[in-house]
Amino acid sequence: MSRSLRNRAAIAGIGQTEFSQASGRSELQLACEAVNAALDDAGLLPSAVDGLITFTMDSSEEVEVARNLGIPTLAVFARVPYGGGAACGAVMQAAMAVATGVANVVVCYRAFNERSGMRFGGTSMAGATALPAWLDVVAPFGLLTPAAWVALHARRYMHEYGVTNENFGRIAVVDRRHAATNPAAWFYERPITLEDHQRSRWIVEPVLRLLDCCQEIDGGVALVVTPPERARDLRQRPALIAAAAQGATADSEMMTSYYRDDITGLPEMGLVAKKLWAESGLTPADIQTAFLYDHFTPFVLVQLEELGFCARGEAKDFATIENLSLGGRLPINTSGGLLGEAYIHGMNGIAEAVRQIRGTSCNQVAHVEHVLVTAGTGVPTSGLILAQPV
């Protein structure tokens, strides 16, 4: 038997709630709705599920989700750390479970009220008298938000490679263009221009404007992972997992890996890329469309370099609106991305990759054979390559 994970698991179902700024429901209810929708999509009953995997940051306990769905027994339950870096990692863990026979049907889920509840962007901390312990050595100096953490990396990247904020703006324009034609997207029918981007206010000067930052959103997404043989008999065309990888590298921190000689790259993503290409036997030329994690625009450029779509420092030339839009050289984030569709910690990107394999995306790319998906950047992360069933 093959020692690799290549083509030994598939995503057989996807499900999601609506994406809103005030769901009016508990995070547990959102999780249950998303899991139920994903099972329904696959044509499976809850009784078939024997594994649940989520993020360490998720508030919905595996056993609570199982109790609500009526899942009788669980053989696998696990959590993946590092915020949005977990997304593809959750699928990798599920793939490992089904490839080894430890479980047969594993559902990965992520659901939160990130807008109406605790906001990651930091505004809900503004009135706080005590700061969470994990802010440790950065908070006393006013480095208090994910935007600010990312910006110190990106500022140096701009300096090294002659990149401007307008270069970052192109990512926002592409994402919002794709979101404009996706009815599920928060920014449906609301595209922006580069001028809109350049007029939006600074969040962290001179790196991130408002339109460089994704918005917190309420919602949930779930994915059903099964062995390929099982997926073949279910309701949807399976998305084969051609490769799955997690990666952490020396001196990794959660968003503040400032202590490496070079802080302009994303070595965690470089490691994930190396593993994905090796496991799948593919190269960047084999990818028709990608979902590149875009909580903040600058790291999309760096990812293009780490993944090998262009050389170091050349993303500012590669990342044109034309190249990255539908019909271009490498259409990215065809659902609108985290910037345009919703910030569900990258799980909605995996769902969109599955739709591209099925041929059901609102912005369908022609002749899709392989889709690359990345998880959170600036943190220990993960990635996937999905492929057509063989």
Binding site: G121, G122, T123, A126, L131, A133, L135, D136, V137, V138, A139, P140, F141, G142, L143, L144, T145, A147, A148, A151, L152, H153, R155, R156, H159, R201, W202, I203, V204, E205, P206, V207, L210, A250, T256, Y258, Y259, I263
Partner: protein, 139 residues
């Protein structure tokens, strides 16, 4: 003057913040292989020694990166404050603030020097300001 968010100390980091409270910017030096490390942590990644001593930083450094967080506003910071990464001459990098300089005057690579400031709520922090390098031939 103003307050600052108080750092959360642990058994591993207490020496660093205690040092600042005593007007000293301290760096961990491994007793096994003499490698310096920051942020504070218990084990040397090079030789796995748990033994270390604090040494006092020279305070001279260079700006590695800097930004101005504009939103959201915080009670602890005046609008326009500068957060910077500083490369100390010892080879250690620190998160800090740049003071006494207009943002437009700051450049990456600019020489800076440390000073320690005690804020109203008793928090002591290392801060940096521009440093005039001695002209060539006079050092």
């Amino acid at each position: 003057m103003s307050d600052r968010p108080a750092p959360t100390t642990t058994l591993d980091t207490k020496f660093f913040w205690d040092g600042l409270a005593a007007d000293r910017l301290l760096i961990q030096r491994c007793s096994g292989c003499a490698a310096l490390r920051h942020p504070p942590r218990p084990m040397c990644p090079h030789c796995n020694s748990l033994a270390w001593q604090p040494i006092e930083a020279c305070g001279r450094g260079y700006v590695h990166s800097f930004v101005q967080p504009r939103h959201p506003a915080w009670p602890w910071f005046e609008d326009g404050y500068i957060v910077a990464l500083i490369d100390l001459e010892e080879g250690i990098r620190l998160v800090s603030n740049l003071c006494g300089v207009a943002p437009a005057e700051v450049t990456i690579g600019m020489p800076v020097e440390a000073f320690i400031e005690r804020f109203d709520n008793g928090v002591s922090l290392h801060q940096f300001r521009p440093r005039r390098e001695p002209a060539a031939g006079t050092r």
